[in-house]
Each structure stands twice: as C-alpha cells, then as structure tokens.
C-alpha cells in the first residue's frame, strides 16, 4: 500500500510534464486541423457570400470597387425590381407547383411499390425491384432524344406534364431505394394484427404502414424537392414558352437579357437559392440522412 503511494508520488511530476508536452503538441495538431477545416468551409461558403454582396450593388459599384468590398449602400430594390419586372415571380410559382406535384406523385407511387414489394407476397417481386433499381444507373442524357420525340408525337412538348412525368419516372428508383431501407425495419406484427381484425390491404397501407413511414417519407420528399427544384436538362429540352418555365430556366433567360446588370443577376440567383437554403436550415438532418441513405446503399 505504502509502496504504491510512493511510486505514484515519485512518478507524477515526470508524467505530468510529459503529459503537458503531449497536450501542447496535440493542441497544435488540433489547431492545424481546424485551419484546414475552416479554410475548406470558407471556400465552400465564400462564393455564396460574394453573390449576396453583389446582389446588393449597382453596376457602378461592381465595376469601380474591388469585388471584395462590402456593398456601400445596399440596393435591396434589386430584389423588388427583378421580382416585379422580369417573369421571375411566374418562374418561381412554376417551380413551386411543378416541384410539388412531381414530388407528391413520386413519393406516393414509390410508397405503393415499396409496400407491394416488401409487404406482399408474389413471385416476381425481386425481378420487378431489379427493374426499378437498374434505372439508377442509366444516364438521363441517353434517354433525352427519344423522350423529346415521344413527347413531340403525343403533343406534350412545351407542356408541363412532360416534365412532371419525366421527373417522377427518373426519381422513382432512388426514392424506392431510400424507402426500402426503412420498410425493412418496420415490424410486421402491426400489419398481421390488422389483417386478423379483417382490415383490407388498402386500409393497412393507408392507415397503418403509410403513417408509420412518415419520417422516411419526409426525407424522400426533401431529396426529391431539391432535385426537381434544380433540374435543368429536361426542362430546358421540353419547355420553350415563358409561361411554363421554372426558375432554373428563367435565370438563363434573364441573364441573357440583362447580361450586364450584375446586381439584378445576383438578386435573381439569390431568389432561386433562398428557398433551398431555408429548407436546409430547417431540415438539414433529414437532408443529410436522405443523401447518405440514397448513395451509400447502392
């Protein structure tokens, strides 16, 4: 007992010196790591901060001052102007309703498919699931020409339905994949009990399974929302008239018309970005979850 205490007292000055040296080097190491991480965060964010700054400047300020300068006298009217003058308000509204309808359609259809594949019993379920999953590997550009001529033939070119149907079809595989992971964890007992009580399949789906899968549904809704809100290739190919253009396409137009007005361009870009940023601030955990679920399981 005594020996033990002695040893500890004799050793402690040396070991604490050793430890403090170790702590110092550890601290320097951590400082370096934070510098790296901070620099990366700066690089990821600075372009957006810069965009925000120039959205509040007029051309005089943009061209005469350093691009790093803060806006001297913030021109909030840039936002009001592009919102009322151009068609930005219309494009914004189109983005909203096209996104909402496509997302609802995708998530509903993906839910029925996932329910039928994981909960119901039939011979071809694995094969059909495979059909959906292979869709993940197909480059959208390879389908663009036939889709264009197909919609041209049935009169859906320059009609929002062509975009909505295409978004739904191409987002189904990923949405089903995210849902599958969650459905696998749902207990079967609840459904079995419901069948015993004489529930129909529809009632089980709508009143038991669908409500239980609400957390994962919200994840898929957000992922789909981000994809559809930002989609460019399909809408650029299928839609030509102004009244159906979405924000992504509208920005392209707008920049063409006001090529030299940086403030107006900046304000338009900010308007297209802000809804996604707000959604991200409110729901970032769900978004992060959806992105990881959607990619790693492949």
């Amino acid at each position: 007992m005594n020996v033990g205490t002695d040893q500890r007292t004799t050793h402690s000055p040396i070991s604490s010196q050793f430890q403090s040296r170790k702590r110092l080097s550890e601290r320097i190491g951590y400082a370096c790591l934070y510098v790296i991480l901070g620099a990366l965060a700066f690089l990821q964010l600075y372009p957006l901060v810069w965009l925000f700054f120039f959205s509040l400047k007029d051309n005089q300020e943009v061209f005469n001052q350093s691009p790093f300068s803060l806006p001297l006298d913030p021109k909030w009217e840039n936002y009001a102007r592009v919102w009322t003058e151009g068609n930005i308000a219309l494009y914004f509204f189109n983005s909203v309703w096209i996104t909402v309808i496509s997302v609802m359609l995708t998530v509903f259809l993906a839910s029925t498919v996932t329910f039928a594949i994981t909960r119901m019993r039939w011979k071809w379920s694995r094969f059909v699931l495979g059909l959906f999953m292979v869709g993940l590997m197909i480059p959208v550009h390879s389908t663009l020409i036939p889709l264009f001529s197909f919609y041209l033939k049935i009169g859906l070119i320059d009609h929002p339905l062509s975009v909505i149907l295409t978004y739904t079809a191409f987002n189904l595989p990923l949405t089903i994949m995210i849902l599958l992971g969650f459905y696998a964890t749902l207990p079967r007992e609840v459904e079995e009990a419901a069948v015993m009580d004489g529930c129909s399949v529809h009632r089980i789906f709508f009143q038991v399974t669908l409500p239980m899968s609400l957390p994962v549904i919200s994840t898929t809704v957000i992922i789909n929302m981000i994809y559809n809100w930002n989609e460019f290739v399909f809408i650029n190919t299928f839609i030509s008239s102004d009244r159906y253009k979405t924000l992504t396409l509208g920005i392209q137009n707008f920049v063409g018309q006001y090529m030299t007005e940086w403030g107006a361009i900046g304000a338009t870009l900010m308007i297209s970005i802000i809804p996604i940023l707000i959604a991200f601030l409110l729901l970032s955990d769900r978004i992060v979850e959806g992105i990881t679920a959607g990619s790693v399981k492949g």
Partner: protein, 292 residues
C-alpha cells in the same frame, strides 16, 4: 394473412403505375436511342435507315474523341479528389468539435441548381472584375488570363466549380461511413498502441472499403455523363475545348438537328457508363464487404 397479402389485383394496382412510367420513360427510350442511332434523321421529318453508319462514323469523329477525352479527364480529377475528401472526412470524424456543423456547411453547394452555380462562377471568372482575376492582379500579376476563353485553361477552370459542387457530398458519405465503425474497434487498436495514422490506414479505411468503392463508381460515372455546368458556362467552347460527351450529344441533336448521330453518341455514352460501372465493380471485388 397469406391470402390477403397476395391479392394479385392489389399487387398490380400498387406496382403497375410506377412500373409503366419507368418502362415507357426510361427503358423504352434507352432501346430507342440505340435504334435511332441506326437512322439518319433530323428529328421531325422521315427517318432513313443507314445501318451502323453513325456508329462507325463516330469512331472516326475527332470531335467525339476530343469530348470523350475531356470526360475521362474529369473522371480522373474527380477520382483523385476523392482522396482529399477522404482525408477531410477522417479529420471530421475523429471526435472534433463542430464536425456536425462543418459537414453541413460543406454540403451547401451541392443543394444549389447547376444554373445558379454556373452563373455565379461565370462572374467569379469574369476577366476584369471577377474574384479570381482581382486577387491575381492584387498580388501583382499583370495580365491574368480570361479563364473561360482560353482553350488550354477552360477545361480546368470548369473542373474547379464541379469539384466545389460535389466536395460536401463525398465528405458527407465518408463521414457517415466512418461514424458507423464501432468505437470498440478503434479503442482496441489504441490499447495495442496504434497511432492515429495507423488506425486510419489499417483499420478505418479497410472497414469502409465498400463505401469507397461506391464513391469511385459514382465519381467516375457521374463525370462521364456530366453536362450542366459545362453547357451553361461555355456551351463546350471555345471551339470544342470544353466539350464533353453529353454536351456533344446535346449539340448534335438539339443544336444541329442530327438526331440520328446524336442518338449514336447517347448510346455510346450509355455503353461506356455501364461498362465502366461493371469494370470497377469487377476490379474492386477482392473480398466480401466488411460486415459488423
């Protein structure tokens, strides 16, 4: 139970709408792309069958090989950058304060539309008052290049925002995979006296090798079919210097109305993507993915 849950009519009702959409809008078009490639066609008038002519002509088409080489170069850069993203993720996942917050910051560019990103970076690269050239002239460089107008530079100038856009995505995937490693593995290695580098190299990396494989496939295939930023920022120019396979297809079909030829490009794009996916999976299946 059995009987209720294997009702054929209900299964069809739940599956068919989605299946029909996927078949008519993904699978049939894929087959048609291959078929249209056999035609000479302006997209509106009559098609005339020319056999494998388009496919053969493409093999001789310098512009196509040019664009293909740009796509492969982008694939190379994206794959190399994965190493950097992996290092960042390793740092983030090593119990650092604020990791949760930082990883979200990194992700923000990935959420923005390509058009917005492209327009923003057009301004960043602006020859006289963009951020890049202002920075260069402030440190005394007299005539900084007009990045997007120089045939030798344009491709690399466009790679930067593409890598910027996806950095957070890959960091997030690696971070999530690293966080899934049971801490007992790391503790055991620490007790055996392994230093952080050894733990990263000998324990963490092998444990997430499956995820690394997936990201390599994603990065390469994603690069091969990349389109958005390039189309908006340069349209493949100047003089084809930044053309990639997808933008070449788009330009052939919707720019010069050679739908047959464009379809042949699209079909090659599909074949290349599928082949590369298959090849990487084949090459990297050395052991079973780790389960824990």
């Amino acid at each position: 139970m059995e009987k209720v849950m294997s009702n054929k009519f209900i299964i069809a009702l739940y599956i068919l709408p989605a299946l029909l959409l996927v078949l008519t809008l993904i699978y049939v078009p894929i087959a048609l792309t291959g078929y249209y490639g056999l035609m000479e066609w302006d997209g509106i008038g009559d098609m005339s069958f020319v056999g494998l002519e388009n496919y053969m002509a493409l093999l001789q088409d310098k512009n196509f090989w040019n664009s293909a080489s740009h796509s492969f170069l982008l694939a190379l850069f994206s794959t190399l950058s994965l190493a950097g993203y992996l290092v960042i993720a390793l740092i983030l996942a090593s119990k650092i304060k604020g990791a949760h917050f930082l990883r979200k910051i990194y992700l923000i560019p990935m959420l923005l539309s390509s058009v917005a990103i492209a327009q923003l970076w057009l301004k960043i690269y602006h020859p006289s008052n963009g951020v890049v050239n202002s920075l260069l002239s402030s440190i005394g460089i007299q005539n900084p290049p007009a990045w997007l107008a120089e045939p030798q530079l344009v491709l690399y100038a466009i790679f930067v925002p593409i890598l910027w856009q996806y950095a957070g995505f890959y960091i997030l995937i690696y971070y999530a995979a690293l966080k899934n490693i049971p801490s007992s593995f790391i503790e055991a290695a620490k007790i055996d006296g392994a230093n952080p580098l050894q733990i990263a190299y000998k324990i963490k990396l092998p444990l997430i090798s499956g995820v690394i494989k997936v990201t390599i496939v994603l990065a390469i295939v994603g690069s091969l079919k990349y389109f958005d930023l390039i189309y908006v920022m340069t349209g493949g120019g100047p003089n084809g210097a930044s053309e990639v396979m997808a933008s070449y297809m788009y330009q052939k079909a919707f720019g010069s109305y050679e739908f047959g030829y464009g379809s042949a490009v699209g079909f090659y794009l599909l074949l290349i993507c599928l082949f590369v996916t298959w090849l990487i999976r084949k090459l990297t299946v050395t052991r079973e993915d780790v389960q824990y």
